[in-house]
Amino acid sequence: MVRILHIWLYKDPAPKFIDAETQKLLKSITRLQLDKIFRNRPNPINTVEYKFMTTEEIENEVKKAFTKARELLQMPPIVQVEQANCQVISKDPGLDSYSNCKYVITDITYGVNDSERTIVVRQTDGTLETADPKLRKRINQIYFPLQNRHIRDPRMFEEENLRGCLDRHEYEFVLDRMCIQFEPFEQKFHEISSKVYLHINETKEFDILRSTRHFGPMSFFLAWHKMIDDLVIDMIKRDYLTNAVEVICLMYNLNGIEYDKGILKQLEQFTSSFESREENGFAIAKKGLEKELNETVGKSIEQFKIDEASLEFIDAFCKSHAIKKIQLTLCLQMYKEGNEEKKRLLEGLRKAHGVS
């Protein structure tokens, strides 16, 4: 734990995180699932409206839903912990012990950003200096409160209570609340988030965070610390091979390991076509025999091709950089067998229907 935090402190993850390629990978890994994003939440506005619509209207609505979903999936950034930077503005020995407590002075001029607001402290010995980040946050919350953020940290984030929350697998709730309560450059943000991610990694409950805005940062965290084995195994088990490949690529990227980038391009072509089809076609697109066959098996020929390439890539990872080599090879073996069977079934069906 301590080792991990030290890495966050001394090496800034922000440039890597903001990097376009990383962002693309993270977004892809997150997997946009409309059902999960727009699921019923325990809040007062939870209405469902039913409407009669034409096909065109439905397609438009689906498009809108996709854009909204992308907005909702915006990831909280991972940046370095901000160091306290107090500048002494003036020092006056004549003012020593002018009062028995310090004064915190805030400039409440309208239209100033929270981070740009001038907040200064007159210490009891008469020195005037800028406030440290902790104080700034408290004062900002007092004068310009953010909704749902509390002046004192919620007790939920204390060690014991947090453990309880995590044992109940309320990861998303904890992370959401953490995003509200803390800024990404705060020490606490990193402490809590890394605790949650490690707990998820231990319990292997990755699916809870899938298709939420926290899945990207979690993968980033795990990839940064080279702990992606369980995540990869989970992805293989759930048949998200492309995602597994992307996670491995992300790990290579972050840790400066050389690899063949051709696989990514291959994946991209496939996924982009797949995604566009999903978005535009919806369910009303004409159904051919081909599609019907694919649906019965669950996969198309192209997908089998992609699977082969990805499996090769994952095999290479397993041999070179994996930590849990035995589990990963076992999992891969099982997957391969299952996939082989499916492939044979599809070929049989195609032959029976006379599709070449």
Binding site: L95, D96, K102, T109, R122
Partner: protein
């Protein structure tokens, strides 16, 4: 009946129903910004207006005509001052420096307590009274120390 309707319309402040009103918001106090009437050439002052309640002072830094009572409607509120130290042993003080500059530019006077606070905040020169308090406190501390050593 008509009279009653007229009266009630005046006494009930119109509030935007979309903006939630804090349950602690003052009911019978005039609003903090902008309804005080004033003459263009009258003497204005930046000074403290005591709010809060018995044994719990809380001050607004306000701009108003010098001759007016502190609980009259103000021209503008430009800050707050909480003289009771909080749990972190701090006294919270806030100024809208942009507006204070504006009013000083218009020639507004500044009362002594506000001048002291502005001095402490580093906007104004430090008031001699602050220095006086400082050295008196230091003297007292020194006396206590000598007594303890004796």
């Amino acid at each position: 009946m008509a009279n009653f309707a007229k009266l009630s319309r005046i006494s009930v402040p119109s509030r935007n129903p979309k903006i939630p009103v804090s349950p602690y918001a003052p009911i019978n106090l005039p609003p903090a910004s902008g309804i005080g009437k004033y003459w263009r050439l009258s003497a204005k002052a930046i000074r403290l207006a005591r709010h809060g309640c018995t044994n719990r002072p809380f001050y607004h830094v306000v701009v108003m005509e010098r001759r007016k009572n502190q609980h009259q409607p103000v021209i503008e509120q430009v800050g707050t001052y909480d003289p009771m130290p909080n749990e972190h042993d701090e006294k919270l003080l806030s100024f809208n420096f942009e507006r204070i500059r504006f009013w000083i530019g218009k020639g507004a006077h500044i009362s002594q307590p506000v001048a002291e606070l502005l001095g402490i905040s580093g906007f104004y020169p430090i008031h001699p009274r602050t220095y006086m308090n400082a050295w008196r406190n230091r003297q007292k501390a020194a006396e206590v120390e000598t007594k303890v050593t004796e």
